[in-house]
Amino acid sequence: MKLPGCQHIVVNKCHFSPLSSDVYEEVKLRIRAEKGNDSSSWSEVYSFIPFDEAQIGPPKVHLEAEDKTITIHISPPGTVDNVMWSLDVSAFRYSLVMWKNSSDVEERIETVHPGDKIYKLSPETTYCLKVRAKLHLYNKNGSYSPVSCINTTAENKLPPPENLEISADNENYILKWDYAYVNATFQVQWFHGFLKIIHGTNLHKWQQIPNCEHIKTTYCIFPRKRLSKGIYYLRVQASNGNSTSFWSEEKKLNTGIYIVIPPPVISMKSINDSLRVYVNAEEGSVKQPYPLIYEIIFWENSSNVERKFLKERNDFTIDNLQPLTVYCVKGRAHFVGGQLNKSSIFSNTVCEKTKTGNSYKIWVIAGICIAGVFILFTMYVMKTLLRCFNYVFFPSLKPPSNIDKYLSEQPLKNLLLLTSEEQIERCFIIENTNTNTIMKETNQIDEDHKKYNSQTSQDSGNYSNEDENSGSKTSEELLQLETESSEMNS
């Protein structure tokens, strides 16, 4: 598209405004020469980002003098509708060069916000200054404003309070100042720090701190909650009867600097020859929104040799300690962040005795296990050796087991006795053995047994009149008979 304002020009220079409000995007240009109906070919494309190329113009400066102080009112560079800097107005920082008109030596260079004051000047003196805007994050320095000069006024009778200092305890902020005159009363005011970087609002609206009105002390204590998290400015004014001083310098209060980090609560637990250390926030304290690093000092109770640990974790273990020894620990918390390096005080000292060493127990258990396995193994080996020994030197006289099985049966055993027994007794033994065998089967079924027994009794001459119902008695008799027969054999 054609660049407005740069068509049919006869000089090699052309002025144009940003094509759109988006000055952050790349613009490409090309040029050609025209004469009559002829035209040259297009030049090489030249590309640029308007914001990159833009120069910061001078700010507008307006000065006010009171007492030994000059107030500097600054309007940011560019017009109100300026597209180039409208999103950077809050990011501008202003640097100021100032000198006494009587000397050409540049005296002070300061970074200021619009509406800031320059303090501790000489009264009734002409000061001159120039200001330029900077965008330090883009490494851009603007051009200086025209030099402005102003006379400071005659010194006020009642000087303003000086040397404001802020400190804090857990609950309160304490603002202190110096004042040379007695019988003065003071009042303290505050306002939001962010208003300093908002231009053109005229909202530099100072507010009273309720506890700090008409006070006679050169300090004022007010609760932290009155100025919660943020950046504020404080100022003090002195009064004596009908006359009042000018306001003191404005003291910046960044609440972040006054964070109070409570000491951690440390506990220890002994685990064998190790100690487990637990670090916790103080009970009831507000949860810290900041990560803390804990510095833990650890020492053996009976010695002065200290070990130092820096831990981010809330619990950790210290290993390889002497068993049954008392160790002590204390710690403190550090907050490390930018310029706000803060530390808590040390916690209480906690001591704990280690238990018997872990390794000792392991050895005992391992020893018992090894001994047990060894004993079992030895017993097994001994038993095997004994068996071999017996086999070699005292071979068994028993027949092979399969034969022995048959031998052990009653009929065969009884057969071995045949030679020394009478015929009748042989019959008896066989019958009786059968009875015995049957008895075993029929012990549980008495009725059957009775029938069977009576039946066999009929065949046997000697025992036909025997007891018909007692199987156990029959067995006893059998044993008795066996004994008798063995006696007879012998």
């Binding site: 914001f51 990159d52 330090h136 994050l137 939001h192 609002t201 950046i231 960044n254 990560p291």
Partner: protein
């Protein structure tokens, strides 16, 4: 012009900024907060749906994985700076009785100062300056679109509702970005 539901939104943002500090200092942001944000979508968004606009959050064009920590801080700083610019308009539009905006801007201001401290340390490593500048310009271009939209809509109630929703979206993006930075 202040939208009626602004206080609710500010509180959500404050929750975020508390978390933001945690994140900055290398702690994890909790997913619950993102959930909380979703739950707090106001009903009037329904009425304002016809006013929606794609502000082209520069999340797709920028692959943040490649960039060093200084760049991420720069993006974060630029975004907070621009959110501050956006909401500071409200304070000059006669909302003195609205207590939440000063609290919100105070918190933002402190965050910005803190980031500038961190960036001041980073600035010593000038080698990253060009890369982070281009990222900053992308963020600025995005906020320029938001400003233009508000002007074209004459700062109507619905326009602000849409912008609030967009800022929340932008914050979600920022937190994701930081999380990537922390847990690459």
């Amino acid at each position: 012009m202040i939208h009626k539901q602004f206080p609710g939104l500010v509180l959500v943002l404050l929750v975020f900024f508390v978390e933001l500090k945690l994140v900055l200092l290398q702690q994890r942001i909790k997913e619950e907060n993102l959930q909380l944000l979703n739950n707090l979508q106001t009903s009037s968004i329904q009425q304002c749906l016809p006013y929606r606009k794609n502000f082209r959050l520069p999340q797709n064009s920028v692959n943040f994985h490649q960039y060093p920590k200084g760049h991420v801080l720069a993006i974060l700083h630029e975004m907070l700076q621009q959110i501050f610019n956006l909401f500071k308009k409200n304070i000059s539009l006669g909302s003195r009785e609205e207590n939440h905006i000063p609290i919100f801007l105070t918190d933002l201001h402190q965050q910005l100062e803190y980031l500038e401290t961190l960036l001041g340390l980073e600035a010593e490593q000038k080698s990253h300056a060009q890369g982070s500048k281009n990222l900053r310009l992308q963020v600025k271009a995005y906020f320029r679109r938001i400003h233009n939209y508000l002007e074209s809509q004459r700062h109507s109630s619905c326009a602000w509702t849409i912008v609030h929703a967009e800022i929340n979206r932008c914050l979600v993006f920022v937190f994701r970005l930081i999380r990537q930075e922390i847990d690459p």
